[in-house]
Each structure stands twice: as structure tokens, then as C-alpha cells.
Symmetry: C2
Subunit: 283 residues, 2 copies
């Protein structure tokens, strides 16, 4: 039987994640025992583990640890308050926040300072959104679905969690416009990450022509979950895994063409392991 | 037979029209023979005629007339170029532009100066829109229907002809958002006139409970035509007239309840004449 594995373009590390990982490993190699990250540098346990081996611990919260001199800010960013705490404790800050996330944080702050009510489209429980929200002022809101549009002010500024799908973002913006009674100004910025959109498009193209999709990435990774949901919504049998070990042979019994894609936090070597494992099972 | 006439709230002169007419008559009484208007002061032939009797001619274009010292700018405003011409000819400018229209002109200029492509929702042939457009920069566009959304730039600013219906404006904005591929910023200002919206709402309420609507206002008046269309779309028999003389007795043969509304340029005395005429015919 002639089975085939197809990898979606743009699967794996995006620009912001690659940049953050490079920054963290540079620091780790130079000052491993004097540096830490605040929260995991990216949503990938293997990368976090490798950094830990080099001495860079991922602290969940700020610890006044005398041996730590440098704190690396993860790709998702942190809240304004946490950043201030770190500065007050005189840590050297190494900012590996994704530039797309930084842009959203800056816009949130600027809009808030100019009396706009900031609307963030995204998941309020995601660290990136918590970070952006901390810059967005008291009356800011997070909206995650067109079914939950709150009553908004007369001057609003709309931004997005960088990994949100454009279709959903448009749906929510259109609903906001539909429901608004009267307003002074609605300002919409595009803070979506291009890489995410391209990865979603490429994944859709692959999912449409295969019998089964394997989606690789952290279970708590928003953009990976989105990839898996996209495939499921297209009616394709889909498995969301974190590593090659989870793969089961019988998944592929009925599938001729198998698609693979991976979230932004999945390193290249994890993708390769998965593809090799699938190939070994189907041939 | 007990027939009844109901007048919609807010029928007739709006704030901007009343202001423009007051300004024009003040000038007319003081300096009638030294003043003119550029275009009709408002879209109402009777008002224009009364001003003419006081010596204030409505010139269609700029005439280098030595006896004219003052030029009154009509409620709809004029183009930036015409205003400059008038200034270069050293006329004293009396600006009776409706403050809502002025706001739209100012926003168009500000957006254009800040590199936004200006999108004006409205009728490109209407003098108000021509005026606003002259401030909106070279790449600006006028959109009058959700079926004709042009390809737009990455940074756009959306404003409206003041008398457009909110529902149509929202439809066009939603279509723009639906069709946009990627963008940097979309900025939407509400330049609609409250009075127009309230008049439309009040007219709708009346139209829903009567058998026939009489809509009074210039045939070239956008807001009056809108009122008439609103009534027709509600399935009510509707007559759009400019004055009481046009009324025909047989219109009211089958109607028990008759509604009356009037556009923003219709003076109170014209409305009263119409109501009196209807009452005399039905009783």
C-alpha cells in the first residue's frame, strides 16, 4: 500500500518564537546560572527542559533570588505590573517578547492613554492576552466570541491576540459594528501575526487533501489548538499530540494520505521525529 | 367619517438648517444688496426666493461682482477650492456650513494629512459630499452601497455624509471589514447628524400606524427622499411633495389615518399649509 505523509508549509517555529529561543539560548550559554525566564520562554516543554539543563529556570513568579541577575521575558510577554516589579528589584531585563505582541501592548497603552476603551479580541486566560490587558486601562475588555459582545463606550480601540484567526476577528468586529447604537470613533488595528495566518492557510490546504491530520504542539498552545480545530471543522480525522511518543499505529490503518502540521512553539526536531515515526509505522 | 392627521416629531428644519437660514436672513436684513449665497442656502425653493426678494442672490458659481462684498456659505458647505477662490477675491466669508458637515470636512482633512485613505459613505453627486471630498485627499473614495466596495489601502479612515441612514452605513462598514484582506488600521468616525436619525425614527413610528404618508421636502433633498423611501419600504402608500399645491383630494379617499413628515429643509409654515390643506380635504 502506498501511503504518503505531507507536511504543511510554515509548520513549527515562527519568527517571534525563533527569536525568543535564540535570545534565551544565547544568555543560557553565557550566563546560564545567573539567568531565569519568567514563565516558560515558549509553550514547549522540551525547549524549556533544555534551557533548564543549561541553568535557566522558568520561574512562575518573581523570586527575589540573589544568584539571579538577568530575567528573560518570554515570547508571550508579561504584565506591566510584573515588569515594574522586576525593574524595582534591579534585575537586568532581557526582553524576548515577540515584536508582534509588543506592538499590541504598545497600542493598548497608547489607546488607553488617549481615552479609548480598548477591546482585545482573544482568550482572556492566555498569558499573551493578560500581558496586553495590563497595558489597556481599567475599562478594557476581552472578547472571545461574537456571541458575547459587551456594551461598549463611545470611543473604542480594537486590537487582537496575535494568534487569533482573521475570520473570527472579522466576525467579532462586524458584530460590534452591528450592535453599536451610536459612537464617536471606532479604531481597529491589525495586531495579528502574519506567520499564524499563513500557517493556518497552509494547514487548511493540506487538511483538504488528506485523510488524517497530525497536529503537533503544546496542549496549552492557543495557535496549535486552533490548527487542530481548523482540521476538525473541515471534517478531517485529527490527532493533537505533543511528541512522537503519543502516536499510535492503528490511527493510520484506514488513511492513505497523512498530513502533518505544527504550532509556533514546536521545534523542527520534534516535527522530524513525528514524521519519521509515522513513516516507520505506515511502511 | 373620522379621519386623522399625525405629524412626525422632528419634521422640518434641523439645527444646521435653522442656523444657516437665521444667519442668511440676518445678513439679508442688514446688507441684502451686498451679499449673496454660493449655491442655494438650503434645499428649499421658497426660502431661497424669500432671500432673493431681500437682495441675496443664490449664485451657482463665483462671479467677480463688484457690488457683492459678502458671500454666505450654504448649510451643505462648499469645496476647499471654491473657498480659496472666494478668499483670493477678498470676499468677506459668512460661513453657514452646518457644524456637522464642518466636522466631517475637518476629519477628512485631518485623516488625509495623516496618510489615511478617506472613505466617504454617501452620494458622490450631493453638494455636501463634494465639499467633504475636496478635503479628503487624492486617494479618497465615495461609497454609496455595499455592492460597490472598491479595493482599499492598508490605512483607511471612514466618515459619512451627515444624512445617511445608520443601517446603510453599518452595512457598508461591515462589508468593508468582510472584504479587507489585511490592513494596518481602520478608523471609523461617526459624522452622522443626530437630527436626521431621530427624524427617520419618528417617521418610521408614524408610518407604521397610518394608511398613507405625505412627505414634504425638495425633490433634490437627500434626507427627504430617504424619508419617502423609508415609508415606501414599510409598505405604506407615500406621496413626496414640495408644497401644499401638489396635494390631490382623491389620495385620501381610502385612508383613515394620514401621516405627515418633512425633510430638514422644509420650513414650519410649509408643513402647516400642508396639514391645513389635508384637513380641509378630509373633513
Amino acid at each position: 500500500m502506498n501511503k504518503e505523509v505531507v507536511l504543511a508549509e510554515g509548520a513549527g517555529f515562527c519568527f517571534g518564537v525563533k527569536r525568543a529561543v535564540d535570545i534565551a539560548f544565547d544568555i543560557a550559554k553565557k550566563d546560564g546560572n545567573q539567568a531565569c525566564t519568567l514563565g516558560p520562554i515558549i509553550h514547549n516543554p522540551q525547549v524549556v527542559e533544555k534551557l533548564r539543563e543549561l541553568g535557566v529556570e522558568p520561574f512562575e513568579d518573581i523570586i527575589n533570588n540573589k544568584s539571579i541577575k538577568k530575567v528573560i521575558i518570554r515570547a508571550h510577554g508579561i504584565t506591566k505590573e510584573k515588569l515594574k516589579e522586576l525593574r524595582d528589584l534591579n534585575y537586568e531585563i532581557v526582553d524576548a517578547t515577540c515584536p508582534f505582541v509588543k506592538k499590541a501592548q504598545n497600542l493598548a497603552e497608547e489607546l488607553s492613554l488617549n481615552s479609548y476603551q480598548v477591546v482585545i479580541i482573544g482568550d482572556k486566560n492566555h498569558p499573551e492576552v493578560k500581558g496586553i490587558l495590563s497595558y489597556a486601562g481599567k475599562d478594557s475588555v476581552v472578547v472571545n466570541s461574537s456571541d458575547e459582545i459587551p456594551k461598549l463606550g463611545r470611543k473604542i480601540g480594537i486590537i487582537q491576540q496575535t494568534t487569533q484567526p482573521l475570520r473570527k476577528v472579522k466576525e467579532i468586529i462586524m458584530k460590534i459594528i452591528k450592535e453599536v447604537d451610536s459612537f464617536e470613533e471606532i479604531r481597529i488595528f491589525d495586531t495579528l501575526c502574519n506567520f499564524t495566518a499563513k500557517r493556518l492557510e497552509a494547514t487548511e490546504r493540506v487538511a483538504k487533501k488528506v485523510d488524517l491530520m497530525v497536529v503537533i504542539g503544546g496542549r496549552n498552545s492557543a495557535n496549535t489548538t486552533q490548527l487542530a480545530n481548523l482540521c476538525r471543522n473541515l471534517g478531517v480525522e485529527t490527532y493533537h499530540i505533543e511528541s512522537a511518543e503519543e502516536i499510535q499505529k492503528d490511527w493510520f490503518d484506514a488513511a492513505k494520505k497523512i498530513g502533518v502540521t505544527a504550532g509556533a512553539s514546536t521545534p523542527q526536531w520534534v516535527i522530524e521525529e513525528v514524521i519519521n515515526k509515522i513513516k516507520s509505522l505506515i511502511n
